[in-house]
């Protein structure tokens, strides 16, 4: 006798349905907790994940290995379908080349439904991700998963091509001072859940105890960026680079493997100190002629355990000097 509660069925959303999700999202606030709109949220998050699977933006792919040969699965072999189970919407991810998978990401197994995902020997037949359940798991650790309207509109609902690298999204994040929005979410104990990055980088392994410091760091960042731009209705691109850099460092700090990272802490402090100095006025009408190469050195150094505070300050000073050199009067 078949137990229907352990059966799932593949589903598809026609274009009209996806358009209705977009319209429904468009009238919500910029930030909507999953708990406030659970059906819409699970549909949008599922669509966001499914569209990335197997593409260059699939951040789950490199953590999935063939359990038989021990090699990483080919990204191109990964597929996704939307599924419905027990009234819930989710995503089924599998490899057409590897029937037995191994997830080499420490906390990822918590986020895939155990009844569907595993072979008797513990290897995975695939991942079954149900966003509404993941929101409940995150809530166990005091973190609230949310939709962010502008982010969803720019990615899931016709913004950027998921087959292309994320550089266009990153430019949008730079220009729109996305770091402020991210810091605002985190200081309130929230995370966006719109795709594979959110799932593997932030939600998998989320732990209540580590968020005490993280929320303080995010609050400091939010306050600093708000203060920096308080008189600038439309800040220049040059003035947005430091906040963007701060946002990347904060994003790293909000990833479980680097919770409380000392090196990131040194770099964050150096960046905030430089921001407070105001050497790049947000209102000064300028055109920036090149992106500062020192940005890469800053991010690489943040991720190096041996980084000290003095080196962090030196690198940040170098980047600001590069920005100032590359600014021309508009």
């Amino acid at each position: 006798m078949v137990n229907d509660s352990l059966n799932y069925r593949p589903i598809t959303f026609p274009t009209e349905a996806i358009e209705s999700f977009r319209r429904e999202l468009s009238v919500l606030d910029e930030v909507t907790p999953f708990a406030s709109a659970p059906e819409l949220a699970e549909r949008i998050a599922s669509l966001g994940i499914a569209r990335e699977v197997g593409t260059v933006n699939d951040e789950l792919a490199r953590f999935l290995f063939d359990a038989d040969c021990g090699e990483p699965v080919l990204r191109e072999s990964l597929h996704a379908e939307l599924v419905e189970w027990n009234g819930r919407i989710g995503v089924h991810i599998w490899s057409s080349a590897s029937p037995r998978l191994e997830a080499r990401a420490r906390w990822l197994p918590e986020l895939t439904h155990p009844a569907f995902s595993t072979h008797p020997d513990g290897t995975l037949r695939g991942l079954f991700v149900f966003p509404a359940l993941i929101a409940k798991i995150a809530a166990l650790e005091g973190v609230e998963l949310v939709l962010v309207k502008s982010w969803a509109m720019n990615s899931i609902f016709g913004g950027f091509d998921p087959a292309k690298a994320y550089y266009q999204t990153n430019f949008w994040e730079l220009e729109n001072n996305d770091s402020l929005a991210f810091a605002d979410l985190v200081r309130h104990g929230r995370l966006a859940f719109l795709g594979t990055h959110d799932l593997i980088a932030h939600i998998a392994g989320v732990r209540r105890g580590d968020w005490v410091l993280l929320r303080e760091q995010a609050a400091t960042v939010h306050r600093a960026i708000r203060t920096y731009f308080e008189s600038a209705s439309r800040p220049t691109i040059a003035s947005l680079i430091l906040p963007y850099t701060i946002g990347v460092v904060l994003d790293d700090l909000a990833q479980p493997p680097t919770y409380g990272s000392v090196s990131h802490g040194f770099m964050l402090e150096a960046l905030l100190e430089e921001l407070a100095r105001g050497r790049i006025p947000p209102n000064l009408p300028t055109v920036l002629t090149r992106f500062p190469p020192a940005f890469q050195a800053i991010i690489d150094a943040s991720r190096t355990a041996s980084l000290d505070a003095e080196t962090a300050r030196r690198l940040v000073t170098e980047m600001v000097n590069e920005i100032r050199t590359a600014m021309v009067a508009a």
Binding site: D29, E30, E59, R62, F65, P72, E102, R104, A105, R106, P109, P114, G122, L133, K136, I137, L140, M153, N154, G159, A165, Y166, Y167, T169, N170, F171, W172, E175, N176, N177, A181, H197, I200, A201, R234, T236, I237, A238, Y244, G247, V248, D251, D252, Q255, P257, T258, P285, T286, V287, L288, T289, R290, F291, P293, F295, Q296, I299, D300, R303, A330
Partner: protein, 87 residues
Amino acid sequence: MKLKPSFILTNALILAGSFFQNAPAAVAQNADISKAPTFDPNRASLASIESTWLKIPNSCKAKGFNAEPVAIEHAALSSAVAAVYLT
């Protein structure tokens, strides 16, 4: 932070196409000023920095997971997480 939809849409449309070069606004003494092109320093900046931006590895930009795959031992779900899947 709430972003105005018109601001987002405007910038999304601009970024959806190719980045374009902006010339400074032409000064024509007898021209109708309301029809003169408006120079946007931020658009010009994005166009100017695109080539150097693309040289930065994606791993350094936002939205990247900075962990490496690690072999893990199969572990039972915590009772609290297991209970979520039974709902």
